[in-house]
């Protein structure tokens, strides 16, 4: 494994503090990792939402994870542009979310906007669900309810 691969793995495996089943690589908020000739590591991360309170903790966790992988000199940069979108979430991330009980975001950049896929209940799989509240426990989630099994569940909303 190259130095870059090791640094990238160390940064990418940091868990999201709010949804700990996801790594920051799964979420798509790890944007870039660079290692220069002197061994200095630069990590670029991007916030999901402007005021995401998890960001400071993620910064600290990334720095300590990269240090633990043997790189004492690390800088974590926060980049805002291009703005994060749920389309950057990996397939693994979407599967982990569903298993955790959160409906994953649907694809945003589809040519067929008229055919919006239903949000499936992560408990019973039914497509018969409705939104209860657009804002939920974190900025990135909405609250929905399944009209078949009656379970309420969070939905990682498309952004």
């Amino acid at each position: 494994m190259t130095a870059l691969d090791r640094a990238r793995r160390a940064a990418g495996e940091v868990a999201d503090p709010e949804i700990p089943v996801l790594t920051i690589a799964d979420l798509g908020i790890l944007r870039d990792v660079r290692v220069d000739a002197s061994g200095h590591v630069d990590v670029d991360i991007t916030p999901t939402y402007s005021g995401c309170p998890a960001l400071d903790m993620i910064r600290a966790d990334v720095a300590s994870s990269v240090r633990a992988a043997g790189y004492a000199d690390v800088t974590v940069n926060v980049v805002l542009s291009p703005a994060w979108t749920t389309d950057w979430m990996s397939e693994t991330g979407r599967r982990k979310l569903r298993e955790y009980g959160i409906a994953p975001p649907r694809p945003r950049e589809s040519g067929m906007q008229l055919l919006q896929i239903a949000v499936a209940c992560p408990v019973c799989g039914s497509a018969h669900t409705s939104e209860v509240a657009h804002f939920a426990s974190t900025q990135c989630q909405a609250l929905r309810r399944c009209t078949d099994c009656a379970e309420p569940f969070p939905h990682f909303k498309e952004h």
Binding site: S50, G51, L80, S81, F135
Partner: protein, 254 residues
């Protein structure tokens, strides 16, 4: 007292930041007091988005004015006359209808402003705007849904929402005001001409008001001064409460 930055782009960034920050604090005052749990969560979520936007813009202001000041310093150690937010965002929460109408009027403005600012020649402001435009779309949707429900709801909700609209409407004129700073940032390609945002704002608001069975206010009174640090009476009280802890315990951490 902290002198207001001299560079027009810095002053402009500070105006944007103060708008977000002051409205964020007003919405945070609803925490644990909203009419329903979902609303408590919604209003504080919106507050958090605005706070994030404000932080990024304070950081940009500090780069532009060359002082490298911290975000906390802008938020907690400036006096009333140093804040350059518009008067609309500082208005008291009132009943839920006042908060909803304030959100409708300001989010409609912000959505158009952020959309234009995402093309700003200032790359940092453009980056903040690119994220904010997605967030404010939710804020406006929330305000629109509530305006429709309250305006076209019961006699009581209609009366209160109309009263809220009449109360806040005069403060909207300031949003489209131009001055030397605004003209300079327009010339630099940093910001859109505020006067040119008016037509789209009017059309968008008019559509919601009609659907909500609310009457367009006819007042011509148009108070102004926020951009020069002249604020309404309620603002000093808000700052006193908000800044007290930080000033009483400078540098405290927990």
């Amino acid at each position: 007292m902290i002198a207001v930055a001299a560079d027009p782009t810095a002053v402009y960034a500070l105006r944007l930041a103060d708008d977000c920050f002051v409205l964020s604090h007003r919405l945070a005052q609803w925490s644990s007091r909203a009419p329903a749990l979902e609303e408590d969560v919604a209003l504080t979520n919106i507050a958090l988005d605005l706070l994030g936007q404000a932080r990024a813009l304070y950081a940009r202001t500090a780069e532009l004015d060359g002082t490298g000041r911290s975000e906390d310093l802008y938020a907690f150690l400036r006096d009333e006359r140093d804040f350059v937010n518009c008067l609309l965002v500082e208005q008291e929460n009132g009943d839920f209808a006042v908060t909803v109408i304030r959100q409708l009027l300001f989010s409609t403005f912000q959505l158009q402003a952020w959309a234009a600012l995402s093309q700003s020649t200032d790359a940092s402001i453009a980056a903040v705007a690119g994220k904010a435009v997605k967030e404010v779309t939710y804020h406006l949707d929330h305000a629109t849904q509530w305006t429709l429900r309250l305006g076209d709801g019961t006699m009581e909700s209609h009366t209160r929402t109309q009263a809220a609209l009449d109360q806040l409407w005069p403060y909207t004129a300031e949003l489209f005001e131009s001055d030397a700073v605004a003209r300079e940032v327009v010339a630099r390609g940093v910001a859109p001409d505020p006067e040119r945002l008016r037509t789209a704002w009017d059309a968008s608001i008019e559509l919601v008001l009609r659907e909500a069975t609310l009457d367009h206010p006819s007042t011509s009174w148009a108070p102004t001064g926020g951009r020069r640090g002249l604020h309404t009476e309620c603002f000093g009280y808000m700052l006193a409460e908000m800044q007290h802890l930080h000033r009483a315990h400078p540098g405290a951490q927990w």
